[in-house]
Symmetry: C2
Subunit: 345 residues, 2 copies
Amino acid sequence: MNKKKNITFNDIAKYTNFSKTTISRYFNNPDSLTPENQKIIAEALEKLNYKENKVARILANGKTEFVGIIIPTLYYQYYSEILTQILSTYEQYGYKFLVFIGNENAETEERYIRELLAYKIEGLIVLSHTLPSRQLADLKIPVVTIEREDKYVSSVNTDNYMGGVQASCLLAKHNCDILVHINSPSSEDVPAHGRITGFLDFCQEHGLKHEMLYRELGSTYESARLQLADILEYLDAKYAGMRKGIFISNDTHANVFLNLLFRKYGRLPDDYYIVGFDNAPISREAVISISTIGQQMEKLASEAVSLLVEQLNERKNMNSAPFKEPVHKVITPILYRRETTEKDL
Amino acid sequence: MNKKKNITFNDIAKYTNFSKTTISRYFNNPDSLTPENQKIIAEALEKLNYKENKVARILANGKTEFVGIIIPTLYYQYYSEILTQILSTYEQYGYKFLVFIGNENAETEERYIRELLAYKIEGLIVLSHTLPSRQLADLKIPVVTIEREDKYVSSVNTDNYMGGVQASCLLAKHNCDILVHINSPSSEDVPAHGRITGFLDFCQEHGLKHEMLYRELGSTYESARLQLADILEYLDAKYAGMRKGIFISNDTHANVFLNLLFRKYGRLPDDYYIVGFDNAPISREAVISISTIGQQMEKLASEAVSLLVEQLNERKNMNSAPFKEPVHKVITPILYRRETTEKDL
DNA sequence: TTGTACGCGTTATCAC
DNA sequence: GTGATAACGCGTACAA
């Protein structure tokens, strides 16, 4: 918005001897104009070098086509991949995304949300875990969350329980003598907690020897490494000579564990089988490729956006806001068998 | 923007028996009101649950506080880290970011830019390489690029030449018999090309035996792996028994190369020394930590935004757009010595 | 310190 | 098929 006046509908209207209304119609309902008049306007737009102003349009018709995103970090490839996929839906729906990186601080994220609301976002996609869904539901705009606590809002989640079962099942098939799941302690209302119950249920149902290791692995490489080095020594000692099937909370941590093994043994020992979670790039790019339970990031993202768009459309059709039960979509995980379990690859 | 009428300045004006103007001033110049009146208005805002509408403000004062970002991908941690740092400058400057992932297609990116302009972004940050800076300069809004061709626009770049020298120097200090630089062929006007000239100049000036390997490593793990596996065989054969110092285009590729070595030898052989570039997370998280020339992502991002903000402020102060010579800032890279060169760590 | 009146650039509602 | 006019919600001369 320069000091130098932009060309407006008014200018083209005068230039073409039409009214502003007709120019507007040229954009929003071109078929209501005669082809000749369309051409006249098109040429005038060219000649005067008109640039559209969607801010004014927003004020007039109330549709910003903005969607807010609050994502905890891009450090994990899981999040950056999902963000990529969300942003790419612009091609399909035309919604523009205002992105904030939440920093685990509730007040900060509330401030972000106020700012987003001030810009009249039509909907909000939340991946950050900071604010309870109860609070998000109060925003009075459609909200969709991805892989986080979602009691009071619509959401898209991976079937983590099935993932836990798949991982355990794969390790069991390889005749592991002991199944171990390493994970940070987590609240039960977080979808990822299903990985733990899936693991436990499968082991119990099939009478498999197993151990659940809850460790706060932290959010940095170094802290995870310290914890996992400890765990490695513990497992080596406790289960010496036994075939160990290790299911680790995510690929980043699985990679750390794998590296520790390589540094100790120069290779993946025959008695270790490893399965990660996410199918993050690191699972393919590790020293040997890591078997993993893949989250379908592209699907999580596209389903989240389409769910949001549905709700936006509902809003537009019925003036009265009907009470909307939250919708929870579930995405199936995909098992990737790679070198950390298929030793002959 | 609901059907249900939002509370506006008008509503609070009526409620408090002030005029709209006074309400406006409460937000933009509160000191011009008496403390008592401030309180009255504050309470009314609370009572009526007023939500500010920045879209209307934009139309009135022309300041969107939007900045556009076009970034090629988030797959590389280099980009996602820079994006994170850019977004975090919201705390300092208050600019909101509209993010598009450029997909290497010029027409698509031009469409993205048109859309951004329609939303009256005040400035643009470009990391994508798709559009020439000549074209970006024509946009008539401040543009800052990061690590890409930048002849006609302002930019922030790493001192790649110095990085190339640092890498070569480190390898030379370790008495490598042959220095090898592996990189994709690149145009000379891309900053990253400095890594190559830095390497070549250093080797020539110091009379070091060296070889430059241009290979199109591609943008996927698999293609890089194929190329690098080839290169490994080539180097093993050609320089058998010699101490090889390998400087690789970036950490992702350095990691691939390191993994190939580990798979072949179970460890990093004594006659290989490796230096990457970027200081991406993978350089710390590889099977052994990779020495690297670190780009200061935080600084690249913050300098880019501050450079942009400077230009935005200039614009606001002088009504006439003065001819602006592009400014090019250079950020010093930082050498990280890690296990792929300091073998006794 | 506060109020009036108008402008920002578009869309919506009628009317013709 | 086209036009006049009133919104949309806020900022800002200018006046008081």
